[in-house]
Symmetry: C2
Subunit: 199 residues, 2 copies
């Protein structure tokens, strides 16, 4: 046990996900050695993230404005909406530079175990967005796991009949750079069933 403030900081840091007591102690002592301005900048970033961060009124991505950067950008293709579970997924997809459309962040996946049903996700808002005639494609980019698949299946049934809108799903298959030998059977099976003609 340390005197007052050091122990308080170790306790608070130890509550963060993935930070054990040893790491918390190491970070606390490292911070003690840093210039006060640097530590205050971290404290300020923490306060601001809670004060300023909101969810985009259109797509529910995190933003510090009413409408996020992507929804505001007139150069983004308004005909295509990529549906993801979380804001993190938006960043992952943006990094690929493969997609120039817009997003819709569900805020999670359907998970009976976690008690999350369709009503807990931003699905009603997605349906409302689709009444915009400009939209011609909805890409379901939920995670390729049990809950993500269930969510995609639910959405494809719900939206499948919308006139003028194609529903697509990200391709499943072997990750680039992987060894066939080490691929799990489900992934390998998907790679087979989704095989394509070589052009």
């Amino acid at each position: 046990m340390y005197d007052g403030p050091v122990q308080d900081l170790i306790d608070e840091l130890g509550r963060l996900p993935g930070i054990g007591p040893k790491s918390a102690q190491r970070i606390a002592f490292w911070l003690l050695d840093q210039p006060a301005e640097d530590v205050e900048r971290l404290a300020q970033a923490l306060i601001e993230v809670k004060q300023k961060v909101r969810f985009c009124e259109i797509c529910f991505n995190v933003t510090d404005q009413d409408v996020c950067r992507i929804c505001r950008d007139p150069k983004r293709d308004a005909s295509s909406i990529c549906v993801v579970e979380e804001s993190k997924d938006v960043v992952a997809i943006e990094r690929t530079r493969e997609f120039r459309g817009r997003y819709h962040v569900l805020g999670g996946s359907i998970s009976p175990i976690a008690g999350r049903g369709p009503g807990d996700l931003h699905i009603a808002e997605l349906v409302r967005r689709l009444s915009d005639a400009a939209i011609t494609e909805v890409i379901l980019a939920t995670n390729p796991n049990l809950e993500g698949e269930a969510t995609a299946t639910y959405l494809s049934r719900l939206l499948g009949q919308t006139p003028g809108i194609r529903i697509t799903r990200l391709a499943s298959g072997l990750p680039v750079g992987a060894d066939l030998e080490y691929a799990d059977e489900v992934t390998l099976g998907r790679a087979f069933s989704g095989r394509r003609y070589v052009d």
Copy 2:
């Protein structure tokens, strides 16, 4: 890249030791989901640690007072001083409940590579403390590595001639619960040279 405050927080968290960009992102989004009070408490702990934490005037342990809890405690044995490199070491030794004396925190070890000589450590203050006739033992508890050993050797030469004061060193040997087979040769050698009669 996230909009403003989220990215700022990820950047600040990513500067902490042992926190990579993925962990920083995970912690930032976790914090976004927490109640504002919890996040403010962490921010407050950060600010307070820089504002309030000082070094004990006597032993240079971290404290929020002029003199630390251990130096203030009249029940601690004033005849024995345990010399350690860092405040963290004080906590580690306190956890053993084996030592009831007081401490002296050097603030590091002698390291020519890192450009730290004896003058950069609180050695002059230690020498001054030893003029107190109550002190009869100085335990050198620096780390059992190259720099810690060099520091202990330097201190034992410097203090060895002080009348009325015994200089001791923590025992080196096999860690409790270790396998002899897997002990490194230096540790095993120390265990041999430091062997004791069975009472």
